[in-house]
């Protein structure tokens, strides 16, 4: 973990209520896709956690959805403004266990970390496919980016206004066999993927966080491998350890 100041390079809307922000700073503590950064915003007490969507040298990309007053505020920030970030948080995805043909499944604001993950898996010579689920056509983002990487990408929308109608799991039948599942998205989606996918896999969870680095026990969850802090022993859990709460 490292606390440092990042400078905003760009901050632009890429879909309905969805923004892509590129920040420049010290990224040396970011080691794995699936890790996150925790951002201090003026006027808000707690930091806001966002997954690393892409990393190129000193340049860090996040994609965020405006859901409340903090992300609303973020959407108003302009290039050259500076933000205090804690970087290198969380365990991140393990790419080793993926097999030859991993499938990435993302829902909405869960899509971003899968982008960097796809790059890493491709760099390891794997054949990567992805199902990216959204509510409706104007919320779809990064389809072109995934495809450009060489990921065979399916898009689903709940209302059928774009791509395959339905949830991410409805697209599973459209796929050749895959060796492993990486999933990130809202908990009901994760659960549906967990139930539908026959392979092993890694699932990334969200929880309200006090610190984001393991100090407050604010984000604990139960797993079959013991109690874990989503911010430190998570956010990524392996399928075999997950316990679904009520």
């Amino acid at each position: 973990m490292k606390e440092s100041i990042f400078r905003i390079l760009t901050n632009k809307q890429i879909a309905h209520d969805t923004y892509e922000m590129i920040l420049r700073g010290n990224t040396e503590h970011i080691t794995r896709p699936g890790q996150f950064v925790n951002i201090k915003l003026d006027g808000f007490y707690l930091r806001r956690p966002f997954s690393v969507c892409d990393l190129e040298g000193d340049d860090l990309t996040i994609i965020y959805k405006v859901v409340g007053s903090g992300t609303e505020k973020m959407s108003t920030l302009v290039p050259n403004e500076e933000l205090n970030l804690l970087t290198g948080l969380g365990n991140g995805y393990d790419t080793k266990s993926s097999g030859k043909a991993p499938l990435l499944i993302g829902g909405g604001a869960g899509v971003p970390p899968l982008y960097w993950l796809a790059k890493e898996l491709l760099a390891e010579g794997k054949q990567v496919s992805a199902i990216l689920g959204f509510n409706t056509s104007n919320e779809v983002f990064y389809e072109a980016q995934f495809k450009k990487l060489g990921v065979s990408t399916l898009i689903t929308t709940a209302d059928g206004s774009y791509g395959i109608q339905g949830f991410v799991t409805d697209a599973l039948t459209n796929l050749e066999s895959f060796s492993y599942t990486y999933a990130c998205g809202p908990e009901p989606m994760l659960k549906a993927v967990y139930d539908a996918a026959e392979t092993s896999g890694q699932y990334s969870f969200e929880e309200r966080m006090g610190c984001g680095f393991g100090a407050c026990m604010g984000c604990t969850c139960k797993t079959l491998y013991g109690d874990k802090r989503i911010c430190r022993e998570g956010p990524v859990l392996v399928k075999e350890e997950i316990i679904w709460q009520g």
């Binding site: 973990m1 201090k40 707690l46 610190c211 026990m217 604010g218 109690d227």
Partner: protein, 304 residues
């Protein structure tokens, strides 16, 4: 550096800065960030007799200049703390540490405090009496002078190390409770624990915290904490560890002027993990600015 030292119940601290219980784990997470031996001491995560998972999540909510937590005293239980956490802590912290003890009955408090009392690394026992008394109908120990005195006396009889009682601010008369603890044998008072609060999620129309209510901390509560330290200072002769919203060297001085001998720093560690180190580093400069040559001189200084 001697201008920063203070004496807390017979043990000299290099400086008055004490990360507050529940916001600093058992220290070793922070030791990855900086050498935590710069601290006066720290109070480790509230420890109970048995392991506790704590409350369901969400356990955290935000508010203006503050946060709510309903962690619910998650900890591995006193045996695991002694066998696993203290050895790890010893690797990174050379000084006596403050053992924060919670319980749900007097027996539990006595048991846990006694187990920790004999550990060499433990300098002080900090008795967190904000917990509900299961035998007493679920009302928190810290909400009546009688119950507070009873648990203090019971623990006092069994431990040798200095005993600091940590008070709940959710009371009508904090001074009366502090006095009752002093009379029952406490060597120090620490305050304040969190203010009971809540938030509701407009989207779900449910309470944001799974536990319904939680404890408010952060800068929002500083004025309440200062007032309670002030009132307690008037009521007792034993030293006070003042905390609640402290986030800067100026706040530390304000807390000491109100009557604190040492100063706890809680939520601020979560937002800025380096804050305690930074406060210790800037204290001398801030003291110079306000003409303070020695911190010891200003304890209770605003009482005239």
């Amino acid at each position: 550096m001697a201008r920063l030292t203070v004496n807390l119940c017979g043990i000299e601290l290099d400086n008055p800065i004490i990360p507050a219980s529940g916001t600093f784990g058992f220290g070793y997470e922070f030791a990855e960030l900086y050498d935590i031996n710069c601290l006066g001491t720290f109070s480790f995560k509230g420890t109970t007799k048995d392991p506790r998972y704590g409350n369901p999540t969400p356990r955290i909510a935000e508010s203006a200049s503050g946060m709510l937590n309903a962690v619910g005293l998650q900890n591995p239980g006193v045996e695991a703390v002694i066998s696993e956490e203290l050895p790890k802590m010893r690797q990174v912290f050379d000084k006596p540490v403050m053992a924060n003890v919670s319980g749900f009955s007097i027996d539990e408090y006595v048991y846990t405090a006694s187990r920790l009392d004999v550990e060499e690394q433990v300098g002080w026992i900090e008795l967190n009496i904000s917990c509900p008394n299961v035998d007493g109908g679920g009302v928190a120990f810290g909400t009546s002078p009688e119950m507070a005195a009873k648990v203090t006396a019971a623990v006092r009889a069994e431990v040798k190390k200095p005993l600091i009682v940590k008070l709940s601010p959710n009371v009508t008369n904090i001074a009366a409770i502090a006095k009752a603890c002093e009379d029952a044998g406490a060597d120090g008072i620490s305050l304040i624990n969190t203010l009971l609060g809540m938030r509701i999620d407009l989207k779900t129309r449910q309470t944001l915290l799974a536990n319904t209510t939680g404890g408010l901390s952060g800068p929002a509560i500083l004025p309440v904490a200062l007032r309670m330290v002030w009132e307690t200072y008037k009521a007792v002769k034993i030293p006070i560890v003042g905390m609640g919203g402290v986030s800067s060297s100026e706040d530390v001085i304000e807390m000491m002027l109100a009557g604190a001998t040492a100063v706890g720093i809680g939520a601020a560690n979560l937002i800025d993990p380096y804050i305690c180190r930074d406060i210790i580093q800037t204290l001398p400069e801030t003291m110079d600015k306000y003409g303070i040559s020695n911190l010891k001189d200003i304890i209770g200084g605003a009482h005239g």
